[in-house]
Symmetry: C2
Amino acid sequence: MASHRYCVIMCGGVGSRFWPYSRENRPKQFIDFLGTGRSLLQMSYDRILPLVPKENIVVVTNARYAHLIREQLPDIDEHNILLEPARRNTAPCIAWAAYHIAAMDPEASMIVTPSDHLITGESIFADSVARGFDFVETHDALLTLGIKPTRPETGYGYIQIGREETEGILKVKTFTEKPNADLAKVFLDSGEFFWNAGIFLWKASSIIEALHRYDSDLTTLFDRGLGVFGTPGEKEFIEHNFESCPANSIDYAVMEKAENVYVECVNFGWNDLGTWSALYDNSAKNEQANVAGDTRVLAYESTGNIFAAGSEKLVVVHGLNDYIIADTGDVLLVCPKSEEQRIKQMVTDVKLTFGDTYL
Amino acid sequence: MASHRYCVIMCGGVGSRFWPYSRENRPKQFIDFLGTGRSLLQMSYDRILPLVPKENIVVVTNARYAHLIREQLPDIDEHNILLEPARRNTAPCIAWAAYHIAAMDPEASMIVTPSDHLITGESIFADSVARGFDFVETHDALLTLGIKPTRPETGYGYIQIGREETEGILKVKTFTEKPNADLAKVFLDSGEFFWNAGIFLWKASSIIEALHRYDSDLTTLFDRGLGVFGTPGEKEFIEHNFESCPANSIDYAVMEKAENVYVECVNFGWNDLGTWSALYDNSAKNEQANVAGDTRVLAYESTGNIFAAGSEKLVVVHGLNDYIIADTGDVLLVCPKSEEQRIKQMVTDVKLTFGDTYL
């Protein structure tokens, strides 16, 4: 059975909220973000490798990152690197991967995972994924992983659970957007809400069927390519057609609409590393409540900061509280954590003022 | 007459208050501090070159900076580079230079100048120096330049003037240390006090005579070398004896004690660039009241800061007011201007924690 199991690692994002650490030419997932010696993408690959045959791991990314995939994952077969000619969010990405895999193996089941999240507790992860595969292989189900929440986080989407289908796997009642603080507290206390991790399992045939039902524009386009997926003609077909796909998320296109949506409630450590604050909140702090990672820091009357400046640089600060201090050699950012939602605007300003040099 | 005029440029300082921009292996005076393309030392040299024959310019520095002198002032004759084997403050430095110059030219007059100050208004400077030379060449006088104060600066020493000896040149009544803010205001309003710029003029014979009278320990030591100054034996003599000199400033050793001390009241722009705040106060500010020099800065809700990160780096800050942001590639310092007196301690802490790497 295992040989019908596939993995799709999505790694086309730009991670602009982590600028300047995450850059257009080397986004967050390609960076050794935690100073472990492995990039987030490599950690995602390492995590999935015991669960799926190596030759069944497919990476989808933007064409401009092809060289980074080859550099960081040299074991991935060229045939398994799907290069998107344009950014179109997750629905087109997943659709293509599903058509590609189904063409090679009509019985395929697959896990779809982001490449830039942090997961701890790998054996729990492995057990959860195995159970998820078992479920989707025996049900026409679209399964998403729901993380048991540990705090009233307002930065995540939540999944409300319904009736239990089998142990640990329940019908989804609703998906909800990021709640405000009060609502997040209610969600946490209720025990009925789980974090939406954006990790999905299904049979390739199940997701293709659901896409036909709920996003037929997309499948009309991809159906024109039936016969070329998995062949040398696939690349040309994609280059001519992919840009026509409307940008859309798989959540919006399918998960929030379909009837056969399930959630597996899991308990491994997870963080989407979506913001500097999230990284701060989930990182080890020193005695001054600063997160320094592998950066050498001397902090005077400074607390609650997160430093990211690589392992060689010395950072000396005085009188900074709750700041992001990120240095990448050519760019330095000093910004309060509370203002981090403005980083995207800053990146836009940088582009307007200085062109592409610092993006 | 001009050929008896000499200049001594003192450039052995370490400039630790400007760490990390000023480093042990390349202190402030060797840095293109203002982004003009010339270091402060080179600017000092350029300024004096029209006033003194090139072959009469002597540079005194620490032995470890010999290569920097040769690199930055390639026109200086090797014979005119005096390399101190140890740091002993200004009195031994000036004593050696005076003995060295007197040995070559018993009729020498000399200007002694720091290498790390900022002077604007070069033609006023030139006129002032010429007048000073004229005076000391015709009087047995120790002359210091007093800058007409423009603000109640608490960071400088002041000179109180006495009776006028000749136009613009007056007897010194007292030297005073850095005053508090109230006193500085009184000094400024009185019109009787001038900033002590640490720029001196005298005949070599006059300062040697004064040293004999007020610091005979020093002259006893240097008198043992009479006959070797200006000869190939000078280097060895210094290497064996210089370290025995007690560290002392020329102000304390001579100027505050001697009777024949005069001040020339001058009016050129001057800043000792002693602190980041001083540099901030005396630099051009942008519309956000930030001093950015040649650093590329995007500042959001940030004012009153001074940035020094070179011309290539982009610095983006949010919510920083009245800070020093100094980046030198391997070191980043972010410190309120009001806490800059702690930088020396920080440098000590850096040494204790990380060794000499970042000094």
